[in-house]
Amino acid sequence: MRSVAETRVVQEPFGPGPAQEPFGPGPAQEPFGPEHEPPTDWIELNMGPQHPSTHGVLRVRLKLDGEIVRDADADIGYLHTGFEKSFEEKTYTQGITFSDRMDYLAPPINNVGFVMSVEKLIGVEVPARAQAIRVMMMELARIASHELWLGTAGLDLGVYSGFFYAWRDRELVLDLNESYSGVRMMTSFTRVGGVAWDLPEGWIEQLQRFIDVMPGRIDDFEAMLTDNPIWHQRLQGIGALSAQEAITTGVTGPMLRASGVDYDVRKAFPYCGYEQYDFQVPLGVNGDCYDRYRVRVQEMRESLKILQQVVDTLPAGPWITSDRKVALPPRSELSKSMESVIHHFRLVSEGFKGPVGDVYAFVESPRGELGFYLVSDGTNKPYRMKVRPPSFCNLQPLKKLVQGVLLADVIAIMGSMDFILGDVDR
Amino acid sequence: MVVGFAIVAAWELVTAVGVVAFRKPMYNALSLVANMLGLAVLFLMLNAQFLFAAQIIVYAGAVMVLFVFIIALMNPEADISFRPGGTEWVYGVVFGVIFAALLAALLFNRGLTGRPGAFTPEVIAAAGNVQTIGTALYTRFLFPVEVTSVLLLVAAVGAVYLAMRRIR
């Protein structure tokens, strides 16, 4: 079986050759960047693709002057998965499963973003209960994602226990995911026009317990870190972006808000009924790593507030649209109505078609604005699906942020960016 | 005792040759470290325990680490101009032999003379080696100690100034 890949891979040499660096693909032949002709006593340090602090397989090549970083070049693509090509080969419904795996820290939000683009293209109304379920899943995902960020960014800076506490709390979210959708992470819970299932019995009570227990857990974190002088030393004033720079470099999400730009998709362009809920958008002042930490912690508390409001106002009713052109008929109808059976067969085997056109739909992921640019040529598959990944945009200013800082600060800065390589590389 | 001395003396000579003859500066430096450790053992044999500690802490632990640091950082190539068969060797060895001969002649002709002092090993052991030397340093040798400390201060300031980077 010859694959396309097989013919292409052979160029890059590897192996236990005379290369001095243990973790890079051999000697660096590639040009470093456009402009630099560095002084000779700078050393080039190759961080990654396998390096504990790159949160995956990012490779950063650093020019070091002693311990001071003079230049950096992020080499991404070590997790390039070809999502955009894969989307083109699958129907809209099948595509939902792909959207999970992009930003694997917040799959529900990806699911929602993906189906929102399809819904916008074909113009489907989503029932209120489905919207509320989506909001709950998304906010849970946001909390889980920020928890994991807190754990790993802390671990990068040496907070060992924080990682474990974060995982203890994240498991609660995963339990909720699991009892709702049957899996811990890759929920694939949305369908075009709603969600796949209604909430199971007892789920709301489970969620309520989570909402009750969580503030104390966040307090524990804050007791450990927020005022800790070592934590201050590591984060304050490191990797600062001013508001103007943040906009120019195109960063998004907590990074943008830490710089003081009041932009949150949930507030600016409410979707899924976010306008009904009362919550604040936490803002930073200095745009440094510490502000990013504060913003994320505060966002977790705000998410809990939203969750409480959704629980209190959860509407009854259907959880998926009754439009038989896009949504599967209920199982109970299959045995009764021939029409339903035909719809079922058509939808499963062919899917539905969208009109010709292109739309851009976007949601607020834990990392910022996650957008899906969908081009349709009228068939049952996306003609082109471009994802605007927030991590990609947040990673872009890395070069600018790390110039002139110490090697140890690179870790703090990369940690504070909260990029997910699956999201960056797609 | 004699056996111990013979071993250490041989060690001293071998490592001293190593300091002179290795081509990689790192090995020179490490030979010197080994030499100093051996010397410290000799000090121990001479009942100078404080000197033993000082030798290791200051020389092996600080000064030579500095050397090793610099060598590792600058990573100078092995001495290219230094060849085992060069003419320097002839001059060097000839001078060295003459010098050694002179020293030996001096030593054997004059003999060791001197008036024994009061600090026999028993006296030192009674008061404690460190205590005895401390007392001596801060009473009889106070002036040299002060001068040395000023020297150290000047050296520290000078070294910092010399090695300081121009802030870009």
Binding site: A5, P16, P22, P49, Q50, Y78, L79, S86, Y165 | -
Partner: protein
């Protein structure tokens, strides 16, 4: 300098522990007992390489987390340096760009070493049947344990580790119900 060649099928996996000098002595009682002891030691102290790729890496972290606690098996010491690791958990999809790096890391690990292909992507490319992904990691490194799931639950990873321990000790992997 080796070259990366993608093999059509899985790499042959020999005896898990690899050749030990003791094997050369033949199977008398003493060496087999010693072998058992060594294999016990090896199976009880599997240190994985700190090496996460994609989604499965998150569940791998979850396995270390307090709910599942991989440390019970003595395997929580994730070593950042491959030279100190025994087990490579290929947790996620391996892109073609990553493949040489992965192989290099594998080569840097000292024998005996084991590989768990965690998740559908690592074991068979899963849903990513496309240009960018190495279609199953067993084309670049020999895999000892395949673990399906997308991503597998932490319990499943623990199960894989337990099965790897059995494999190292030379026991059958699947204990059939009586």
């Amino acid at each position: 300098m080796g070259e990366l060649t993608l093999r059509p099928g899985p790499m042959p996996t020999g005896r898990a522990a690899g050749p030990t000098p003791l094997n050369a002595l033949g199977d008398n009682v003493l060496t087999t007992t010693l072998d058992k002891v060594i294999n016990w030691g090896r199976s009880s102290a599997i240190w994985p390489a700190l090496f996460g790729l994609a989604c499965c890496a998150i569940e791998m972290m979850g396995t270390v987390g307090p709910r599942h606690d991989l440390s019970r098996f003595g395997s929580e010491l994730f070593r950042a340096s491959p030279r100190q690791a025994d087990l490579m958990i290929v947790s996620g999809r391996v892109s073609i760009k990553m493949a040489p790096v992965l192989r290099q890391i594998y080569d840097q690990m000292p024998e005996p070493k084991w590989v768990i292909a965690m998740g559908a992507c690592a074991s068979s490319a899963g849903m990513f049947n496309n240009y960018a992904i190495v279609q199953s990691v067993d084309k670049i490194v020999p895999v000892d344990i395949y673990l399906p799931g997308c991503p597998p639950r932490p319990e499943a990873l623990i199960d894989a580790v337990v099965k790897l321990q059995r494999k190292i000790r030379g026991e059958p992997l699947v204990k059939r119900p009586a």
